[in-house]
Amino acid sequence: MKYLTTFNINNFRLRFGSGTHVHPYYITSLGPLNNKIAKSYKTILVLYNNNLDITTKNEVKMLTEHLKNGYDDKRIFPGFNAIYRTNVDIEPVSFDPSGYDRPEKIYESFKSTCSNVEKCFPVIVLPRVHRGLYDSIYYRTKAEFLEHGITSQIFTTDLLKDKKNYVWSLLPTSIQMFTKMGGIPYILEPGIKEFLDIQVFIIGLGISYHPLNKEQRIGYVMMFDQLGNWEFLEAGSIAVENTDIESDKNVDTLADRVASLLNTAIARLANKIQAKHAVLIIHYSGKEISSKEENAIAKALQELKLSQKILAVYVLKINKSNIVINDLESQFEINGNETGYPQIGTVFKLKPDVYLLVTTGYFVTDRATKGNIWRGLPSNLIISRHKEMEKLNENIIKISDESLLASVFSLCRLNYASVQNPVSSEPITTRYSREIAWIALRLLGAKAMSKMEVFRTRMWFI
């Protein structure tokens, strides 16, 4: 194991509508990169349970008012339309008290208030639930709206009452809403610069189990370009019977399904390649993947045929790690006490093709040393390059390991959920595997997933 390099966040700036900056919260002054689709929305409805007590109802009204006209201190949140250059009306609407048990009641209220549901965006106020509960009102409500082709934003009653966090949640919530409305808040300023005539696309590949039925899996492929521009999502059911666990048959079936998803995504990508050639970098998460799924991914990639357009496919497996780094020369002190937090972006080489990337710790800006962690242990990722799975045209100039690692760090920078944090602990390509799987599993019954344009084109899962 040895120290390799440090990715400095100042070299991974974000591009907004009218300039670049290191920090996402500069969207308030620099505006979004692209609001073309989001501009077509007419109304944002803040939906709340009619049975809420009067205090909470007033807090819902306050949320509506803040989204519309901004927070008292406009530097913190100047209002939705002011930031995103949109012209939406924002109003509260109550839903039937039975909505907490039956999300279809919430949708009914939404539908009855909107003459054209495609031009309305719902912000739904719900009680806070544990994200690890498959059967919770959170997942059921999001699935209910998505089944009707509507993306949604959940806002919890707990957050309404938590005055301090509420204020700071307004901006990140609005960024999520804007993104789900089809807007692009910001992307990365630099991409991988090793090729002139070649476009680089980054793919998030995941397989997740149904939490209650291990024979049922969901596979997904999400696509970004090298600047973090969202392209699309393809997802599909992978049901494999585990009757004969020793058999290779189910690995083959899994591989077929994964290959089919990849091929569908690559066929769809073909229209988006503007350069002469393209290169794909696959990020897949080791979170829920056993050796069986890994073998299936390897087999699926073997079957993949490189076209004249796509010259290479690189494969990176990304895992959270339990390795702890104590930086004895850390510049980050809290209340005058040494912390040992390492610098974000520090990379260690564990062995050939295996790297450790620090994603929480401190960062240095032009003004000061700051941290994206104040208490707890820093997190880091183990990134393994799987050369045996890769497909490379022999004429291609190879991408260096450092550039491949930069693709992971870049997509850790692309954080639409928490604007105070300049680097997420996981890249956006692998971060949402559970949300995608659990909501997609609920849509399987509807059997219309593949036909839902919104499902494929919007980042509904953030």
């Binding site: 194991m1 040895k2 120290y3 639930v129 544990h130 690890g132 509960l133 498959y134 059967d135 189990y209 149904h210 939490p211 209650l212 039925n213 291990k214 024979e215 585990n242 020793e246 339990n322 390795i323 702890v324 780094i325 104590n326 930086d327 004895l328 020369e329 809290i334 040494e338 912390t339 040992g340 937090y341 390492p342 260690f348 080489k349 564990l350 062995k351 050939p352 208490r375 707890g376 242990l377 820093p378």
Partner: protein, 390 residues
């Protein structure tokens, strides 16, 4: 060369030293009629003197196959073959109820019998890729056969996990040094969460226990040396935390409610996990009465007799994550079940504080709970106490 004494970054890696550059191991090719994971599992579970590691594909200079090492110094290939057949027999006997395994077991042993010379002694680097797994399996076997076997806990994957209870820690740490172990102070103040039966807190000690959890992972590392070649090393990645162990089987909870004179109807609305062949079914208690419980599960509804629950082991357990379950637990079983989180926050405050505690933990376990020397065939491995610096 890798320096472990100087550098800017301290990592939770303990270097494993060795006294010979090459390790003699017994190697077995992948068998045609016998799934290799079964063979490896049989050896690691039932062999007295050997451990095994599977390499399904060639890796660097190591060929695919099953690698076996002895914990008792060098032994003959015949001895390894004999022990292997015995362990396979035991393994398949233990799994007779599992479909297809008996027939496969006979096939496995027949294949080994056909060609006894399949086990060969070969030489590999002492720090080769498979050695990390052999050392992990060896350490697990050493602990399993020692008087400390109860400290082993279940962990999926390549990690070895140890649970250390308050009473056990007190036997290891002298009185004057006990302040350095946060769990002991915690248990002084919350003894009902550490196994002590205190009046009014019976539910806590019966269903929950806070323990120290130490995990060890043997990690193979390759690094380029100054001559352009590769050096291989083995490290132990060590981590430390605290865990609240819960054993909320539905039957035991019902018995507890009876013993405290509490109406079991209060279980209504509580979420229950039911283990099924395909995973876990999530159920909700719809109606709990004197002799039966009605459950509404995602896959179906069912009525379970209390008598059946008694014999169902941990098939039905309360899922504490849901709000209703949580409220029920805190009201009728044990309040403040999350107190251990303060303990975790204390030692994981930041890397600097964590390493101070981790250094204590390493001193505590090495040579006391786990041996610092592990012998595999002709090589003596030694786990060192100093963390790696980079």
């Amino acid at each position: 060369m890798i320096s472990s004494t100087s550098g800017r970054y301290l990592v939770n890696f303990l270097p494993v030293n060795f006294d010979s550059a090459y390790l003699d191991v017994y190697w077995l090719p992948l068998l045609r009629e016998c799934p290799s994971p079964w063979v490896v599992s049989a050896i690691n579970q039932y062999a007295n003197s050997t451990v095994a590691s599977l390499l399904p594909r060639q890796y660097q200079h190591l060929k695919e196959g099953i690698y076996i090492a002895s914990l008792a110094g060098m032994i003959s290939e015949e001895y390894v073959s004999t022990e292997l057949k015995e362990t396979l027999t035991t393994y398949f006997k233990s799994g007779e109820d599992r479909q297809g395994k008996t027939t496969s077991g006979e096939k496995c042993i027949a294949e080994l019998d056909k060609d006894i010379s399949k086990v060969q002694t070969i030489q590999i680097p002492s720090t080769g890729y498979v050695v990390a797994n052999l050392l992990k399996n060896a350490l697990e076997k050493i602990i399993k056969t020692s008087e400390n076997k109860n400290i082993l806990c279940r962990k999926i994957g390549a990690e070895l996990c140890l649970h250390l209870e308050k009473k056990y820690l007190e036997t290891l740490i002298p009185q004057e040094k006990r302040d350095a172990e946060p769990l002991l102070t915690f248990c002084d103040n919350n003894s009902w969460l550490c196994g002590n039966e205190i009046e009014g807190k019976e539910g806590c000690s019966r269903f929950f226990k806070v323990v120290k959890e130490i995990t060890l992972r043997f990690q193979h590392v390759v690094i380029e040396n100054i001559t352009g070649g590769n050096d291989e090393r083995i490290y132990v990645i060590v981590s430390s935390t605290y865990r609240r162990i819960s054993k909320l089987t539905l039957y035991d909870v019902i018995c507890f409610l009876w013993s405290t004179g509490t109406d079991i109807g209060l279980l209504n609305g509580v979420r229950v996990n039911k283990k099924v062949k395909r995973g876990t079914d999530l159920c909700k208690v719809v109606d709990a009465r004197e002799n039966q419980v009605q459950l509404s599960c995602i896959s179906h509804d069912e009525v379970v007799d209390i008598e059946r629950l008694r014999w169902s082991g941990d098939q039905y357990t309360i899922n504490p994550t849901y709000k209703n379950s949580r409220e029920f637990i805190e009201k009728y079983i044990c309040d403040h079940v999350d107190k251990h989180k303060y303990l975790i926050a204390e030692i994981k405050h930041n890397p600097r504080i964590y390493f101070r505690q981790l250094a204590n933990d390493v001193k505590l376990i090495l040579g006391n709970i786990i041996p610092n020397n592990i012998i595999l065939n002709n090589v003596k491995y030694k786990i060192t106490e100093e963390f790696l610096k980079l």
